[in-house]
Symmetry: C2
Subunit: 330 residues, 2 copies
DNA sequence: CTTATAAATGATAACGTTAACATTACATTT
DNA sequence: AAATGTAATGTTAACGTTATCATTTATAAG
C-alpha cells in the first residue's frame, strides 16, 4: 500500500503538499495539483484512515450499543438501525453495532438503546470517562443525556380511547410478561383511557410472552374467563396476530365480533388479514434524529441538552363497532 | 485522556514496559507489573485502539457491504448480520455496515452480499487493491473468492416435489418480478421438480412484486386464469402470506382447497395461520460461517479457496393433499 | 568471585497522517 | 529597484502505540 510519502516522491513535492491536494485543494497551485493527482493515480494511492484518525482525533464511527438481551433481528431495532445508518452515511459517518463493551474501539460517540435505569447511568459514566457524547433511545432522569423516546403511554391511551369510542365496553389488554419500562407504560396508557371513559367494566390484563404463541394463548384465556369481552388491546403487533388467530379459531370474526388492536406498526400489522389497527412508533425517524443530534453534539453545534418525547402515530385499519351477534357463537 | 506515557511516568518505568504489561504481562516482573497496574488504575488509563491499529495494521473491524438496493430492515439481511455479529464478537471483532464505498474506512476484511456478477468482480478488485480478504454470500465464477451460498434451486425443487407427492397436479408458481440470480434459481428449481414428475400440466409462473400485496394480486390472477390450480409455490414467505389472503377471500380454504408454500423460513411463515410450509435458508449459520472463514483467512490459517453451497431446510407446516371439493366453491 | 546466561527493562525509530510554523517565490506597490 | 504583501510550498513535530535492538540486572554455573 502506497503512502503520502510515495506520492510526494513521485510528484517531486513534499508530503504536506499531497495532503493539501486531498484536504484543501484550493491551497495548491493548479499545475502542482495536477501533477500530484497524476502521481496519486499512477501509484494507486489510498488514504490510510487510521493514521488520519490518530492525528485528527475523529474516526468517523459511531458505536451503537445494543445489549445482548435484545434480539438484533427484531424489527424494532432494525428500523432504528436503518434510520441511524441513513442519517450517518449522509454525513460520511459509519456505525458499529456493539453488543458488549469488553473490546475497546475508537468511536466519536455512542447511541444506546434498550437499557435499564442503572445501565444508563453506567453507560453515561463510561462515555464521560472517554469524553464522548451519548444519545439515548429512551428516557432518563439524568438531565445531562440527550434522549428521545416515544410517548407510549399516550400511544396506548389513544388506541384504547379509539376502541372505546367505537362502542366497546368490555375491553381486555394483552401485555408482555416482562417488567420493563415499556410494559408499564402500555399498562398505564390503557388505564388512563379507561379512567377517562369512566372505567365501564374495570381493567382486565392478561400477561404473556411477546410472541404469536403468547398472544394466542392469552386471547384464549381471556375468552374463557370472560366471554363478555369484545375488544383486545395488545401490547405488540405480534401478540395481536396470535390473538386474532385464537379468536378466528373459535369461530368468531375479527373485527365484527371482536376487535383486536396491535402496537408497534413496524410491518407485522400488515401481515395479518385483515391488517391490524395499530399505533406506529416512528422508530426510523427516531434513529435519524438520534444520529443528527449526536453528530451536532460531536461538532459542538448543539448547545443545551435535548430531551424529547415523540408521539406515536395512529394507523387505522379495521376496528368494527360492537356487534351483538357474538354471544350466539361462543 | 491519559496515555501509555502518563502511566509510565506515574509508575516510574518506560513506556514500553507499560505496553508489555498490557500485551505480554508474563514478560514483566510481578512487582513491576503490580506497580504499573496500580498506576493504570489510578489515572484511569484506556488504550487508544487507533494508535494500536496504526502500528499493528489490524483494526479489529470487518466491513459488511450491503448495497443500497437492499433494504436493511429485511429479515434476510438481519439474520445474516446477527450471525456475522455473533461470530465476530466471539473473536473480539466488530463489524461496520457499509452502504456505499465512497467513505474509506480501515478494516481487516470484507463480507459482501446482494451483489450482481459484475459488482462482485468490482468489489474483488477493490479488496485486492487494499490487500484485504473478502467473503461473499452468493456464488461466483471467480475461483479466488471464498463464498457460501444456499442451494436455492434444490430448495425450491424439494418443496415443489413435496407438493407434487401430495397429489397436486396443477401447480402455479408466484415468483419475484426482478431479474436477479435468486429469482432465476427459484424458477429453475420449480421446473426441475416438474420435469422429474413428468411435467403433468406445464409450467405456470406469475411474476409480481415481492410483497404481501404482490402475492395477493398474483394469486388472484392465477385463480382467474386457471381455476384448476390446487397449489401455489411462492418464491417468498411474504408473497405466500398475500396469496393465502387472496385464496381465503375467495372463500377457499388453505390448505384443504389450495396448498400454498413459501420460501425463506425467517419468521414470517409463522405469522400466517395456519403457518406456512416453507424452506428455510440457514442465513444465520451462513453469517457465522462467513465470519469464521474470513477471520481464518485474515490470520493466514485458511489455505485454498473455500466455496460452498449449503442446503436449504425443509420446514413442514401444512400442505394438505388434493381435495376435490374445490371446484364447487369457485 | 568471576563468568556465562537468562530475565527484565529501556532507547530509539517507525506506523501515515496533519497542524503549526517557516520559508520561498512571485506579484504589486511605491 | 526596493519594499511589501500574498500565494505556494516546505520543515518539523506530534498523535499513541509497538518492534527492534541495546542495555542493565538478576541468576546460575564453574
Amino acid at each position: 500500500m502506497s503512502t503520502l510519502n510515495d506520492v510526494a516522491r513521485e510528484a517531486k513535492v513534499s508530503t504536506i503538499t499531497v495532503s493539501r491536494v486531498i484536504n484543501n485543494p484550493e491551497k495548491v497551485k493548479p499545475i502542482t495539483r495536477e501533477r500530484v493527482q497524476r502521481a496519486m493515480d499512477k501509484i494507486n494511492y489510498v488514504q490510510n484512515p487510521v493514521a488520519k484518525a490518530l492525528v485528527s482525533k475523529r474516526v468517523g464511527i459511531i458505536d451503537v450499543y445494543v445489549p445482548e438481551s435484545i434480539d438484533l433481528s427484531n424489527p424494532f431495532i432494525m428500523h432504528l438501525l436503518v434510520g441511524i445508518s441513513e442519517e450517518l452515511s449522509k454525513q460520511m459517518y459509519s456505525f458499529l453495532i456493539i453488543r458488549d463493551r469488553k473490546h475497546e474501539h475508537r468511536c466519536d460517540g455512542y447511541i444506546v438503546t434498550g437499557l435499564l435505569k442503572d445501565e444508563i447511568h453506567e453507560m453515561y459514566q463510561y462515555a464521560l470517562e472517554r469524553k464522548r457524547p451519548i444519545a439515548l433511545f429512551g428516557h432518563t432522569d439524568n438531565e445531562e443525556i440527550d434522549c428521545i423516546d416515544v410517548d407510549n403511554i399516550e400511544g396506548v391511551r389513544m388506541i384504547t380511547e379509539y376502541v372505546l369510542q367505537n362502542g366497546h365496553k368490555n375491553l381486555a389488554m394483552i401485555n408482555v410478561n416482562e417488567e420493563k419500562d415499556y410494559t408499564l407504560d402500555r399498562y398505564e396508557g390503557y388505564c388512563r383511557a379507561l379512567q377517562e371513559a369512566g372505567n365501564p367494566s374495570g381493567e382486565h390484563v392478561m400477561y404473556a410472552e411477546n410472541s404469536v404463541q403468547g398472544g394466542y394463548e392469552a386471547a384464549l384465556r381471556i375468552l374463557r374467563e370472560n366471554n363478555e369481552t369484545t375488544a383486545m388491546i395488545c401490547a405488540t403487533d405480534i401478540m395481536a396476530i396470535g390473538a386474532i388467530r385464537a379468536v378466528t379459531e373459535l369461530g368468531l370474526k375479527v373485527p365484527q365480533d371482536i376487535s383486536v388492536t396491535g402496537y408497534d406498526g413496524l410491518g407485522h400489522h400488515l401481515l395479518s388479514s385483515p391488517a391490524i389497527t395499530t399505533v406506529c412508533q416512528p422508530v426510523y425517524e427516531i434513529g435519524r434524529l438520534l444520529a443528527q443530534t449526536l453528530l451536532k453534539r460531536i461538532r459542538g453545534e448543539e448547545r443545551g441538552v435535548k430531551q424529547s418525547l415523540v408521539p406515536a402515530l395512529f394507523l387505522e385499519h379495521s376496528v368494527a363497532g360492537i356487534n351483538k351477534s357474538k354471544e350466539d357463537k361462543i
